[in-house]
């Protein structure tokens, strides 16, 4: 029997217990669908496909890597690998955080998919333009709609921006395809099938080449450059870059055959190394999954697999020392890290972990009352501006911006 036929039989047998019918009467309301659908047909739209501001202007607020001494984390500490959060420095963290919904010009549903290090630029996806299958992409500048971007394909996304307002992303058309957006213009990156997921202020772009989930880590030295493969260690067949630092250090994952990926670093000096596996309560982690890099800090989560369970723990890693620091349990799962070392994670609410392991929950969006799920994709270098979106039982994707002092 072929492997595929084996898989077929195995998959059917494996998932069989989940077969079933929904309970009770349907709560489907055709009249409401028609009412809402009619409103979507009529919904106003801003000029599509045209940038309404020049995207070359450099966002100046504070400078890319400017961060206050007060917000700077305590000096290097020994790695903490216990369940207790490190409590050393005086509490210094965000204050008076407020949440606002980003404007969408009447469109009821939108995501925030990325942002720049100054907290000026955000990118997102709106749903959907009347009568079409497309999800127009938008840029916000200082919390206001600034441009609409017409990317072909489906599931389009702008994943990251730099402080110049340049962005990178991907769409499926039908294969995954990498894009760059700069000076009001969207261009396909060279290399064919692949994804662009991050860029820095020098315009260096990273991501992967090849099919979604099965590509190889890649870097484009500029948006007009040919991609170069980032080297993988022997035996590793699949990988992706996840993020790039201002000095050119790239963090990503590599995986061997039939194994999931774990953290890998391509350093600015051209060398590369596997990220070590942190100890979690006396057990060496199975994997480390990095999410972001900034100013030499990598954040992500450890994965510990046992026979029946998989568990995660939040960590911050310093590239220069090779040391992990376990974040407090209420830090949530790290998503982004600021240049000052503060970590933005998601738990019940978005959470900022600032110097000394002090955690601050960001305020909830008041209109999301029932089981909200916050998904965060942008964090500024001063640790004070975050953006993402919320979904919940009573609310669809709503793009949100948090500002603290």
């Amino acid at each position: 029997m072929t492997k595929q036929a084996d898989d077929e039989e195995y998959g059917v047998a494996l998932l069989r217990p989940l077969a079933g019918e929904p309970d009770g009467p349907a709560r489907i309301d055709v009249a409401r669908a028609m009412r809402d659908g009619r409103r979507r047909r009529l919904s106003r739209w801003w000029a599509s496909g045209t940038a309404v501001v020049a995207l070359t202007a450099t966002a100046a607020a504070g400078g890319t890597l400017a961060f206050s001494a007060a917000g700077r984390p305590a000096p290097e500490r020994a790695p903490v690998a216990t369940t207790e959060p490190p409590v050393t420095a005086a509490p210094a963290g965000p204050r008076d955080c407020r949440v606002t919904r980003l404007p969408t010009d009447g469109v009821r549903k939108a995501l925030v998919t990325g942002g720049d290090p100054t907290g000026t630029w955000l990118a997102g996806r709106t749903y959907p333009k009347r009568g079409s299958m497309s999800y127009p992409l938008v840029l916000w500048r200082d919390g206001k709609l600034a441009a609409s971007v017409d990317m072909s394909g489906s599931d389009q996304s702008l994943e990251d921006l730099n402080s110049h307002g340049d962005a990178v992303g991907f769409s499926f058309d039908p294969e995954i395809k990498p894009w760059s957006y700069a000076e009001g213009k969207l261009t396909a990156l060279a290399g064919g099938e692949g994804a662009a997921v991050a860029l820095n202020d020098k315009g260096v772009i990273v991501g992967s080449l090849g099919p979604a989930y099965e590509g190889r880590p890649a870097r484009w030295s500029s948006r007009t450059a040919q991609p170069e493969s980032l080297p993988m260690p022997a035996g590793m067949t699949v990988g992706t870059a996840v993020d790039i630092d201002e000095d050119g250090t790239v963090v990503g994952t590599v995986e061997g055959k039939n194994r999931e990926g774990s953290g890998y670093l391509w350093l600015a000096d051209g060398t590369a190394r596997k990220m070590p596996l942190p100890d979690v309560d006396g057990t060496k982690a199975t994997m480390f999954w990095p999410e972001a890099i900034r100013n030499g800090w990598v954040v992500g989560r450890s994965v510990v697999d046992t026979k029946r369970e998989r568990s995660f723990a939040p960590f911050r890693y310093r590239v220069s020392t090779g040391r992990y620091e376990r974040l407090p349990a209420d830090a949530g799962l790290p998503q982004r890290v600021a240049a000052n070392g503060w970590v933005l994670g998601t738990a019940r609410l978005p959470v900022i972990t600032s110097a000394g392991g002090v955690t601050t929950e960001l305020p909830a969006y008041p209109k999301a009352a029932a089981h909200p799920d916050y998904l965060i994709n942008s964090y500024s270098d001063d640790g004070l501006v975050a953006a993402g979106y919320v979904i919940g039982d009573d609310i669809q994707n709503q793009p949100l911006l948090w500002r603290c002092r």
Binding site: P22, A33, G37, R40, R41, G153, R308, A347
Partner: protein
């Protein structure tokens, strides 16, 4: 073929609602969420209904709206399931319930596209070509996603695996 009129829309939705709800339920494993997915799907469908005459295969088109709605809601949130909260382990009324709960929990830890591929292929019995169309990807990608998804489930559930294997 649909002509884009309201009576056509109502008739179409009434005729397909049960099947859509079942697929939505298999995708997400929750009746209420399934209803929300179907509601969103038929809302999108109505918004596009005036131009629907141009769609070659309406069922496949609606199906792809449903799968996209599922993916959009799951995207970036899938791995957060149960994090920070110990899994609830109430005493199961009978063994089948625990098995289902464990399988469903395992499935929610697989990336959303792989979840969709596994459910559509193995619970909804859909051919690779239909799944590819619903997801907007190639048949090759569906096959590889199937293999990845099954491998991930094996890892999550532990191997050797006997759950669900009728032996």
């Amino acid at each position: 073929m649909a002509d884009g009129s309201d009576p056509e829309y109502v008739a179409y939705v009434h005729g397909r609602a049960a099947a859509l709800r079942r697929t939505a339920y298999l995708l997400c494993g929750d009746t209420h969420q399934a209803d929300d997915l179907v509601q969103e799907t038929i809302t999108k469908l109505y918004a596009r209904w005036p131009r629907i005459g141009r769609v070659d295969n309406l069922d496949a088109y609606v199906h792809s709206i449903l799968v996209r709605a599922f993916l959009d809601e799951k995207r970036r949130g899938w791995w957060k399931v149960r994090l920070g909260v110990p899994p609830e382990r109430p005493a199961p009324p009978h063994p089948g319930v625990e098995e289902r709960a464990m399988l469903r929990a395992a499935l929610t830890r697989v990336p959303p596209r792989q979840q969709a591929v596994l459910v559509l292929r193995f619970l909804c019995d859909q051919p690779v070509a239909d799944v590819a169309r619903a997801l907007g990807c190639s048949e090759g990608t569906v096959k590889s996603q199937t293999a990845h998804g099954l491998a991930a489930l094996r890892r999550i559930l532990g191997n050797p695996l006997e759950i669900g294997m009728a032996r």
